[in-house]
Symmetry: C2
Subunit: 137 residues, 2 copies
DNA sequence: CCCTATTTGCGAATTATTCGCAAATAGGGT
DNA sequence: ACCCTATTTGCGAATAATTCGCAAATAGGG
């Protein structure tokens, strides 16, 4: 029998497999857009608030998920699947993914000019605009 | 007699010149790193909390300042001087600026592949790493 | 099946942000 | 310089977001 994806993700990093962690993982897996902690709390009513926050932090540390910051100021989380970024509508908050980010050049350029850094471990790139239906009105 | 920079910024966008606005502007101008609303509240004790939040929102709408999202999850604000980005230490939160971001290529590539968007109005790019002194330990 | 380290749920504390409304005030007109 | 009014502020309190401490529950190795 096949091991589920969420079990695999947890087991691979030596984390205990618990109900709350599976629930949070699925909440993230089920949607396309990045979720806030509160959105997960409300969707997954069975899991306690504090646990959701703790689990999300854990996921980020373990590399299972990552934080995403959109304009709103709320931290959002999404599974760390692969290297994609977001194009967010500043009016309706619709999110579309895009790929093909060549931050390497930018990073190496930045590093070359940096006085205090010699390692870059991650980056965040977000594009903002108006989606077609919002720009029509 | 010369008009101060903060008066100019406010007047140019048709905003009233008030004490709180000047204080918040100076708080942002005086530091190099982006500040949270709370940091400004605590530094500028004379200005009420609610006013600080309102003023920051106003500045963003007016284009005087912009929001910056670092890992922490707190929204930070900085003056909208020119197009620079940040290299942030994930350990100690030290921030260094860098220039030379060529997001245009990335944006146009993203737009070309987008199904729902045809305008990009802004972007955010943040690099994260370890600063030299943190990576030593 | 036990045993223990880990994780959870709960309740409550903190912290961040927003709101409503009356008092204060900026700045145009005179 | 002085009114007048629309705007902005401060205050107090509400709301929302996040974190904490601790006792009860439980995952998973032996």
């Amino acid at each position: 029998m096949k091991e589920s994806i969420e079990h695999k993700a947890l087991r691979e990093r030596g984390l205990r497999i618990t109900q709350p962690r599976i629930v949070v993982y699925r909440a993230l897996a089920d949607v396309k857009a990045p979720l806030t902690a509160q959105e997960i709390v409300h969707s997954a009513r069975l899991v306690d608030q504090a646990t959701v926050y703790r689990t999300l932090e854990l996921f980020v540390e373990a590399g299972i998920a990552r934080k995403v910051n959109l304009q709103s100021g709320l931290v959002r989380y999404e599974l760390n699947s692969d290297d994609h970024h977001h194009l967010t509508c500043t009016r309706c908050e619709r999110v579309e993914d895009f790929r093909g980010c060549h931050v390497e050049k930018i990073s190496s350029h930045a590093l070359a000019h940096s006085r205090f850094f010699s390692t870059i471990t991650s980056h965040s790139l977000e594009l903002f605009g108006l989606c077609n239906s919002c720009s029509r009105t």
